[in-house]
Every structure is written in structure tokens, then in C-alpha cells.
Amino acid sequence: MISWFVPQASTFAADVDSLIFLILVIVGAWFLLAEAVLFWLILRFRKREGVRSKYVTGDVKSEKRWVSYPHYAVLVFDVVIVVAALRVWNDVKVTDPVPEETVRVVSQQWAWTFVHAGPDGRLDTADDIKTVDDLYVQQNRTYRFELHSKDVLHSFSVPAFRLKQDAVPGRMIAGWFKPTLAGDFDIQCAEICGIGHGLMPARIHVQTATAHQEWLREHGVMPALAANTGAAGQGGAR
């Protein structure tokens, strides 16, 4: 469903999409049924000359079951939806897998700074690579991200990953993703953050292993950049 519009570029994208599809099927059926009954009643019980309305109180059991049975059914479907929803949620947000690499994401009015671990694969070392508004990751590699904000709330949203997480000043919020599809995708700020909220686009570049290694070699040891790394959480100025 969602993949008609936005590609599935992370491991959990398909899970989120299936959950959405499951809910769509369940509530869609309910919706159609309820609307059908509603329209049928409207047509069937139009006022006709000489026909009085029925006196139905809805207070006796035999009448009440017309609403109580659907009502129990709603309960059952609710349980199905909750279970499915929380399985996806736990996978994306609660049980983080062991990361292969960590990337730092720093938001501010109105730009994103990304600190990549560099060739040595570790953050806060001399070969860290800092970029503005472009995040480079390797396909099929498990990343942990550490999200910061320097001023107001922002939100790190990567629709192609089905990932969204607000950034809160004063906190480091961690999460994970594992890109599966090579390509360039939007990173959007999804929390209003002032005048430039609509002008805070960034891109995530998912690269194949070879392309990513190439990129690392090109950018990894630039001494000018290496000199001002290590300021954890402060992020790099642009």
C-alpha cells in the first residue's frame, strides 16, 4: 500500500506497511459495513404516507444485541490490531539490534549535521566525517543513530525507512535502522521548528558497500575536518 508511493528502504519498512495493510483490511471492512447499514436504513425507513415509525426502545436484550454483538467484534479486532501494532513498534523502537556502526544526527534551526564514524567505524575519533544535510550510509548495515537538537524540537523522519523520531534539546535519543535499498531518499523535519521548518530538507544516501567504501576513502581523512571532531553532542557547525 504505502510502497505504491514510497519505496521500502529499510528492514522494518515492510513490517510497518503490512501492519498498515492489516489495519486497512479490518477497519475498511468495518467502515464499508457500517456505511452500508447506515445507507440501507436511511433508504429503507424513509417516511411513507400512512406508515408510522416503530416504537423501539433498544432497552431490551433482544434489541440490544444488534449493537452488543458488533461491539464484541470490535473488541476482538482491537486485540488483533494492538498485538500487531506493538510487535512492529517493539521491533522498531524498543528492542534495538546490536549495531555495526553509530551515526550522530544533530538538528538545529534549520539544518541537519551528520557525524559519520569514518573509516575506523567509531565515532569521536579523528577520522569522523561531518556533513551538513547529507547522510551517507551503507546498504545492509545496521546503524544506531544518536539524535540531538541544539535548540527547539525537530523530528528526524525518513519516510522511505518508515522511521520517525523527534529530537529534543538536552537529550540524546537513540534508535536504529538498517537500510536495504540503495538510493537517495528524503530526510524531513516532521516537527514544527520555526520559520525555516519547511526549509530544512536533507537527503539520505544509501550506498552499496563498494560505493560507500569509496566515499569513505574520499572523505575519511581530511585533516581539516579531523581537527574539529570529537565535540560530542555539540554537533558541527555548517
Binding site: 408510522r52 433498544g58 522511521l163 524531513q188
Partner: protein, 586 residues
């Protein structure tokens, strides 16, 4: 109870209207102020939707839309529609107008408190409107006003507008706290003799429950607003992490109020719809008591769902489980309520009058809002949908039925009572179909853009390659054209309203052949409402009672030879108590 309708004390001229303590006059003040604010709220949406459809082009009657004015327009639109349109029209206007008439008394319990409530409300509306014209312009940090954006002029660049917004919202709260006192007290203490708890019309129940809900939920937010005000003007750090504060604290306080607030406006709307459906389908409401119980249950559960607005806001992710569960639990009483309403139609004799069309449309459209909410209450899928146009479309499929569809149902239904004349049915139907069709054409496309990842509060998509696609832009343009059509159709409504005030057919006391007490009073009811105070003999919805000549049996009509006929109605059994000032509860 008020006994001060002695004509000798009444001021004359314009003051008669401004200074009146008559509940009906105060209702009109709220109604017309709410309608005026709806025009402002509608104008803001016109401007920002034009910008979305045709980015960068000058909008007629406004000019070019900058990023900052876009934010200010969106923020004002949301705030106005909820606090200055939905609340005053649904709760204050209908509450004030209907409660004394429907429970059968001459005025509110505290008429002067009532007047004060409106005056404070009016002040808040003026303050909010004025904030457009101060240096820096109106606040642009969204109607949720999350700090630190809302606390600091450095961040939001509207230091004056932000504070004015906050004070205006706080004053609006005061107005509704004062109003709520009256609604609750009047309903509890001033009912006509014989009117027992379950003889009270549903709309009165709903407004009372909504008022209690509002009072119970707003306290924490007022505390939060005071802290926000201090952060803004004297530089405290309640929400500033650098000084030990926490921005997420505001979100909890805001949504602890904000979610119940959704039901504060929903319940009165459902109440209006219930009244209209009963009258125009000639039907007793199906399972009256169930409606009351589900409304109470919904209100209580609504205190436990707030953090579903914050799944991805940085709260402990394990909390999402709890709030997903409570959110889906609240779908149960709400679904039950909708089922009961649908079941009411069974066996009816439905006339598709304009008010009935609106009431039925409420159910048809609200169902969209209800089912799409499940996608957002389920934490896993909310990760994707949060802060997209899917959310915008979802909550407009709840709010538009609430504020406008139910509002129009109420206005067209009670217009004959309010002004003594009928509205024009043909114009009413043109307005109805024009509004309903264009409403769906606005928001169905926005579900699609939302599913495609369009996020909200973005004034220009050109920076986002994945969103700046032709098919998405076409959908945005379609939504905007539909909005223009909808605005155009409102002219029909205003024309019909104005023309019917003088030229409509004379209504008489009970044009719809309805059963509740307000239809006993003259149309329009004079100060003091009833020539002789009514006594209540049965439940509010005795339509189609077998073995009677008429298909309706008003609450106020004595039951033939006194005490002979069994007492019908929701209250069930036992002879009607008579003579008692207020009916005893059972």
C-alpha cells in the same frame, strides 16, 4: 434559579443586547462571535491552501505568503477553529440556548456569571485577532505550542504574538470554566418538576458531561500555561533543558487536556445529532441510557490516552504499549455510540429535511474520522503517519463533522425556535450538498498525500524531492479548488440565514412536531421562556408510541386522566412525581 426577569431593570437600545443576562441573548452572542471567528478561521485556511497549491504566487486578498506568515496562519487556523469556533458554537451557544429551554426553567442558575463568561470570551477573541497586527505578527508555533519554540522569541521570532496567543487561550479557558458552572448547576438544580435524570434530553447530558470533562482536564494545562508564560516573559526555565526544565513536560500537560478536549467538542455535537435524528426520524433514541453511559465512559477513558500524540516524541518507547492499548479501548464506547445512533434509524419514518441531512452526514463522515484514527492509535503505524497529512485528514474528518456539520444540523433544526421562522429548504439543501461534496474533495486527496509522506506545516515542498512530485501537487491543487468551492457555498448559507430571519415562513411553537420542552415555548421564546412553567410527564423521545393519535407525545403533555396511563419513556416506571421543584434522582 433566577427570578430577575423583571422588565423594569432592563436597559434599552443596543445595551439591551450587550448587557443582557438572558441565556438566549448570550447564546446568540456566542453564536455570532463563533460565526465571525469561523470566517477568520476560514480566511486563514484559504490563504495557506492557496499557497500550497500555487507556491510563491500572490494570494488574492492577501498577497505573497512568507514562511513566517504561513506558520502564523496555520497556527491561528487550528486555534481559532477549536477554541473560538467549535467550543463557543457547540457548547456555549447551544448550551446556553438549549439548557434552560430543554430542562424547563426561565434562565441559567447564575445569569451574571453567564454574561461575564461571554465578555471574557469576547476579550479573548479580540486579543487573538489583534495578535495578527503586532510587530512580528501572530504566533506561528502550531496550536500545540510546543516549547522551546513557543517559549523563546529568539526561536519563534514572534515574542509578542506568542504571549498574546497564550493569554488569549487562557482567557478562553476562564470563559468556559465560568460557562460550565452554569450548565452543570442549571441542569442539576433547575429542572422542571417531573424531569428525572433519564428524562433529560441527550444534548443536555452531552453538554453537561463535556463541561465536567473540560473542568477536570484543563487544570493541569492552566498550570502549564502559567509556566509557559513565565518562561516567555520573565525568563524562567520550566521548559528549558539547559536550566533543568523539560520541554516534553508541556506536551504531557497539553495533551492531558488536549485529548479530552476532542471529546469536549465531540459530545455536544453527538448530542445535537441525537436530537435532530429523533425528531426527523420520528424515533425514540435506541438505548438512551447506553448513550449516556458510553459518553461517561468515553470521558473517563479519555484521560488515559493522551500520550498517543507523543509516541515518537521521545517518551520511553515502552510507554507506547500502554497508550496504544488505552487508545484502542476508547474506540469501544465510541463505536458503541455510533452503532446506537445507526440503530436508532431502524423502524423510523425518516424525513430528509435539511437538519436531518446534516445529522446523517455527521454519521457518514465521522465514520471516516473514526476508522482512520485506528491507524494513528496503533503505535507501529503511527511511526509512519505521525505529523503527515494523513493525520490532518483524519482529524478534519472528526473536527469538520463536529464543528460544522453538527453545527449546521443544530442551527437549521433550532432556527425556527430561535427566530420564529423557517429556513428555506431548497437553499438549505443546496448548501448541504455543496458543502458535503466539497468537504470530501478537500480531504480525501489529503489522505493520499499523507500516505505518500506529505508532512504537515510545510509552506513549500520544493526543497523535498520525494514530495515535490506532480501527482502530489495535483492532489494539493484539487484540495484547494474544493476548498474554494466550499467557501463559495457558504454564501448560500449566509444568504438563507439572513433572508429567513425576516422572510421565512412563520414557524409556530412546534414546527417539527417534537417532544422536548423547548417546543412548548413560543418561537422565539420571550424573556422568561414559558408563560407557565412546564411539568414533565415522560422521557424526551416518545415518538411512534402505539395506540395514540399523534406520532409524538411531548414531555410536557399530561397523560390523559391524571395518573392513569403508565409512565413511558427512558425513566421507565412509576407515576410521574409532580409539584417537586427539582426531580429527585433515583
Amino acid at each position: 434559579m433566577s427570578h430577575e426577569h423583571a422588565a423594569a431593570h432592563e436597559p434599552s437600545g443596543l445595551l439591551k443586547y450587550v448587557w443582557s443576562t438572558d441565556h438566549k441573548m448570550i447564546a446568540f452572542q456566542y453564536l455570532f462571535t463563533g460565526m465571525a471567528m469561523a470566517l477568520i478561521g476560514g480566511f486563514t485556511v484559504y490563504v495557506f491552501r492557496m499557497q500550497l497549491a500555487f507556491p510563491g504566487e500572490a494570494v488574492p486578498l492577501f498577497g505573497r505568503v512568507s514562511a513566517s506568515s504561513y506558520n502564523a496562519l496555520v497556527t491561528s487556523h487550528g486555534s481559532i477553529m477549536i477554541f473560538w469556533v467549535a467550543m463557543p458554537v457547540l457548547i456555549a451557544a447551544f448550551g446556553n440556548y438549549l439548557i434552560p429551554l430543554m430542562v424547563g426553567c426561565d434562565d441559567m442558575a447564575f445569569p451574571k456569571v453567564n454574561r461575564l463568561s461571554f465578555q471574557i470570551f469576547f476579550l479573548s477573541a479580540v486579543l487573538l485577532t489583534a495578535s495578527f497586527f503586532v510587530p512580528g505578527g501572530a504566533f506561528g508555533g502550531a496550536w500545540t505550542a510546543y516549547p522551546p519554540l513557543s517559549t523563546s522569541g529568539v526561536y519563534n521570532q514572534t515574542p509578542i504574538g506568542a504571549t498574546m496567543w497564550l493569554v488569549a487561550v487562557a482567557l478562553e479557558f476562564v470563559a468556559f470554566l465560568l460557562g460550565g458552572i452554569n450548565f452543570i448547576t442549571t441542569t442539576m438544580n433547575s429542572r422542571a418538576p417531573g424531569m428525572r435524570m433519564f428524562d433529560i434530553p441527550i444534548v443536555v447530558w452531552m453538554i453537561v458531561i463535556a463541561s465536567v470533562l473540560f473542568m477536570a482536564s484543563v487544570g493541569p494545562l492552566v498550570a502549564g500555561a502559567v509556566m509557559l508564560l513565565f518562561d516567555q516573559v520573565i525568563g524562567t526555565g520550566f521548559y528549558d533543558p539547559a536550566r533543568g526544565g523539560d520541554p516534553v513536560l508541556w506536551q504531557h500537560l497539553f495533551w492531558f487536556f488536549g485529548h479530552p478536549e476532542v471529546y469536549v467538542v465531540l459530545l455536544p455535537a453527538m448530542g445535537i445529532v441525537a436530537e435532530v435524528m429523533a425528531v426527523h426520524a420520528r424515533k425514540r433514541l435506541f438505548a438512551y441510557r447506553t448513550i449516556v453511559y458510553t459518553a461517561v465512559a468515553t470521558s473517563i477513558i479519555s484521560f488515559f490516552v493522551w500520550a498517543h500524540h507523543q509516541f515518537v516524541a521521545g517518551i520511553d518507547p515502552r510507554m507506547a504499549s500502554l497508550f496504544s492499548v488505552t487508545t484502542l479501548i476508547i474506540s469501544i464506547p465510541v463505536a458503541e455510540m455510533v452503532f446506537v445512533y445507526i440503530a436508532t434509524l431502524y423502524g423510523g419514518a425518516i424525513s430528509l429535511t435539511t437538519p436531518m441531512l446534516w445529522a446523517l452526514a455527521f454519521l457518514v463522515e465521522f465514520l471516516w474520522g473514526g476508522v482512520t484514527g485506528i491507524f494513528l492509535g496503533a503505535a507501529g503505524s503511527d511511526i509512519y503517519f505521525h505529523d503527515t497529512y494523513f493525520v490532518t485528514a483524519h482529524f478534519h474528518y472528526t473536527f469538520f463533522p463536529i464543528a460544522f456539520i453538527a453545527g449546521f444540523a443544530g442551527i437549521t433544526h433550532w432556527f425556527p425556535k430561535m427566530f420564529g421562522r423557517m429556513m428555506d429548504e431548497r437553499l438549505g439543501k443546496i448548501h448541504f450538498w455543496g458543502t458535503i461534496i466539497s468537504f470530501n474533495l478537500i480531504f480525501l486527496p489529503l489522505f493520499i498525500t499523507g500516505a505518500a509522506g506529505d508532512h504537515r506545516r510545510i509552506f513549500d515542498y520544493s526543497g523535498f524531492p520525494d514530495l515535490n512530485l506532480p501527482y502530489l501537487q495535483n492532489l494539493r491543487i484539487m484540495a484547494t479548488y474544493a476548498l474554494l468551492a466550499m467557501i463559495a457555498f457558504q454564501v448560500v448559507f449566509f444568504y438563507n440565514f439572513a433572508r429567513s430571519l425576516r422572510g421565512g415562513a412563520v414557524a409556530g411553537a412546534n414546527p417539527w412536531k417534537a417532544t422536548t420542552l423547548e417546543w412548548l415555548a413560543a418561537s422565539p421564546p420571550p424573556h422568561g421562556n414559558f408563560p407557565v412553567m412546564p411539568t414533565v410527564y415522560r422521557g424526551p423521545y416518545e415518538y411512534g408510541v402505539p395506540d395514540r393519535a399523534d406520532d409524538f407525545w411531548p414531555q410536557y403533555e399530561p397523560a390523559g386522566p391524571a395518573g392513569q396511563e403508565p409512565r413511558l419513556g427512558a425513566a421507565g416506571h412509576g407515576p410521574a412525581p409532580s409539584g417537586a421543584m427539582a426531580a429527585p434522582e433515583r
